[in-house]
Amino acid sequence: MKKMGKIEKLCCAHCAALIQEKIAQLDGVQEVSISFITQRIAMQIDESKADAIVMQAERIVKDIEPDCVLKF
């Protein structure tokens, strides 16, 4: 299923790329795209693992950019 969200206070383009890569490696994530310019994230994920993925994604974001807020 498709899951779209916003990543607020994303100020480092490099970090955006890193976050995208780490989320792409999560189990159940088929595709993920983060646009640094529009501060948006779009994922194609396994519906059954949706909750776990969201939780892990939030942790990844906090790890890389502590000031960032991930909202779905």
Binding site: C11, C12, A13, H14, A17, Q20, E21, S33, S35, F36, I37, T38, Q39, R40, A42, D63, I64, P66
Partner: protein
């Protein structure tokens, strides 16, 4: 500028002042040192804090940390002013990036921000003021002069002249009346109208456009993928080289000139961040998408921009796309009947009909002064009347045959209006639809921009379409096609290069999907078209196709310029730095300067025509 950015500007200014002072008082070591440290802390404290935070989480290759090492390291080996200069300019570059990104972000939300805060709706016979989100389908919305439509709807009462520029990019106002569709974002210039809301706020056009432009950057181009991969390897490699540079060469001389090599290693660290590329490339594509969206052209992904820049074949649907759906009289065929008379008789009768074929027939004849009586119209079939005493019937072939008229000419499958006078077949008027006024210009433009094959695919009959070949610069014409055949044609074109298809969307969804880039025309309000197409032309103007190609080429050109420029300058600095020719002043200037230039280059698209 945001508050945060303003604070950074203040810090930079104060720091620069302190820095200048420290240079002036250079003789007094203690004072100079104090001023220098103050300058460094003022401008760089947040970078140091971030660097430490990230280091604790194991992110050692973060640019904050590397910048800190380079600048503090430089100060530690005695190059005090260089260290401060590096941090100062790094912050300037970072500020510039933030402002550029902020400006770009605001450009799309600007469309939504200008939406009305309230909508006047008639409920229970009374006018009430609602929020745009509260309007439901079926509500009667009242638009007074000056009001901006917040939802899509159809006019139920009143006439108005409206400014459609927010959506279509057209500056000339258009007139609308009852039955016409109004799209959110239109501004009512004069006249008071009521409309029936057909969509809610979040489904309405202006919101969807903003959504589409925002989501367009999610579909990444090959260039963006390349940059991501490049950035991943570039930083580690440069840092590794820096480490080698710091420790290997001095080993041969017994670490006597350690500080010299350490200095060169710091130069490497300063150039180790590929920020210029990582930001400017996506920004360029965003600029291209934003640029055309203001002209009513919605490109749904950065990857389509790349494809369009390499366009090879463009296939057009005929009726309604290359042609404007209006017909003209091509010729009049009769056996012995006088041609002029036939036309005049037909025009007299047709002048009472509003059928799309009646209009051109009447237009072909100056007002005939014949007496018309007993006019009768058989909807979709034909018209008949008594003209100057004669019984004249005009209509389609089937109707003629069914009415018992004999001796019709051979059926050539051309759009015709057959005419019978007093029950006897007299002749027929053959009509054809005309190409759009700007069709020739658009096709010529496309060729200029690299399209090598221009084709027309149509379900219409060959003879109708043939004339197009003489009027327009077309390479191939495929007529008599069924929708499935169109897909096959596209598949035949695909191997030669990037293939585009331009259609009106409603029946063309599979073709739009099969083509590399599918354009949907006149797609206002048509959800099917908006879904299926890769590029949506909101203002029903064929020129959108050539414009999309032109801007795409410009975008890709700018991206290539930035990539080549940034990488070459960085390589140059690395080489010169290793040789000791380039110092930290040059390195940071090159790094920040390259960033600024690349970003400005990228922003060109957002600002220019």
């Amino acid at each position: 500028m945001t508050k945060e950015n303003k604070k950074v500007v203040l810090r930079i200014v104060i720091s620069a002042a302190l820095f200048a002072l420290s240079l002036i008082f250079g003789k007094t070591a203690a004072v100079s040192l104090l001023l220098s440290i103050a300058a460094y802390v003022t401008v760089g404290y947040d970078v140091v804090i971030t660097a430490v935070k990230k280091l604790l989480r194991g992110r050692a290759l973060d640019e904050s940390f590397l910048m800190c090492i380079a600048s503090i390291g430089a100060m530690a080996i005695g190059e005090l002013h260089e260290g401060i200069f590096v941090m100062l300019f790094y912050k300037v570059g970072e500020l510039f990036e933030h402002i550029a990104v902020e400006r770009s972000r605001r450009s799309i939300t600007a469309l939504l921000e200008k939406m009305p805060q309230s909508v006047t709706v008639m409920r229970g016979g009374e006018e009430c003021i609602l929020l745009p989100e509260e309007v439901v389908v079926g509500d009667t919305v009242v638009l007074k002069p000056g009001d901006k439509a917040a939802v899509d709807g159809r006019i139920t009462e009143g006439f108005a002249s409206m400014d459609t520029s927010a959506i279509t990019g057209e500056s000339a106002p258009r007139s609308f009346g009852p039955g016409d569709e109004i799209v959110s974002g239109y501004i009512n210039l004069n006249g008071s109208i009521q409309l029936r809301a057909e969509k809610e706020f979040y489904d309405s056009t202006v919101y969807k456009i903003m959504e589409m432009v925002e989501s367009a950057t999610m579909k990444k181009s090959k260039a963006e993928h390349f940059i991501t991969k490049f950035a991943k390897v570039y930083t580690p490699i440069v840092v590794a080289l820096a480490a080698l540079l710091a420790f290997l060469p001095p080993a041969f001389s017994g670490y006597a000139d350690f500080s010299v090599w350490l200095h060169r290693a710091f130069v490497f660290l300063v150039v180790s961040c590929p920020c210029a590329l990582v930001i400017s490339v996506p920004l360029s594509f965003f600029g291209g998408i934003g640029n055309v969206s203001r002209k009513g052209i919605l490109i749904k992904g950065s990857n389509y921009i790349e494809l369009l820049s390499r366009v090879h074949t463009v296939a057009f649907d005929k009726t309604g796309t290359l042609t404007d759906g209006n017909f003209t009289v091509a010729r009049v065929e009769t056996n012995d009947f006088d041609r002029q008379l036939l036309l005049a008789l037909a025009a007299s009768v047709e002048s009472h009909s509003a059928h799309k074929l009646a209009v051109p027939i009447c237009a072909a004849v100056e007002h005939s002064h014949m007496q018309v009586e007993d006019f009768v119209e058989a909807a979709g079939l034909g018209v008949r009347a008594r003209v100057d005493g004669k019984a004249v019937a005009c209509g389609c072939r089937r109707w003629m045959v069914e009415s018992g008229v004999e001796g019709l000419c051979a059926d050539t499958n051309e759009t015709s209006v057959y005419v019978a006078v007093d029950g006897v077949y007299a002749g027929r008027i053959i009509l054809e639809d005309t190409p759009r006024e700007n069709a020739k210009a658009v096709l010529t433009d496309l060729r200029k921009n690299g399209a090598e094959r221009i084709c027309v695919l149509t379900g219409d009959h060959a003879s109708n379409a043939q004339r197009l070949k003489t009027l327009l610069p077309i390479d191939a014409l495929e007529a008599g096609l069924l929708p499935g055949d169109k897909v096959n044609c596209i598949e035949d074109y695909l191997p030669a290069g990037v293939t585009c298809f331009v259609g009106d969307g409603i029946n063309d969804a599979p073709v739009l999907g099969r083509a590399d880039v599918g354009f949907a025309m006149g797609a206002m309000g048509s959800d099917v078209a908006i879904e299926a197409a890769d590029v949506v032309l909101l203002n029903d103007d064929l020129a959108g196709v050539s414009e999309a190609v032109r801007i795409s080429k410009k975008t890709v050109r700018i991206v290539k310029q930035n990539i080549i420029f940034a990488i070459s300058v960085k390589l140059l600095v690395l080489v010169l730095g290793a040789c000791g020719v380039a110092g930290m002043w040059e390195a940071v200037f090159a790094d920040v300067g390259v960033s600024v230039i690349a970003i400005l280059n990228a922003m060109r698209l957002l600002w220019s025509r």
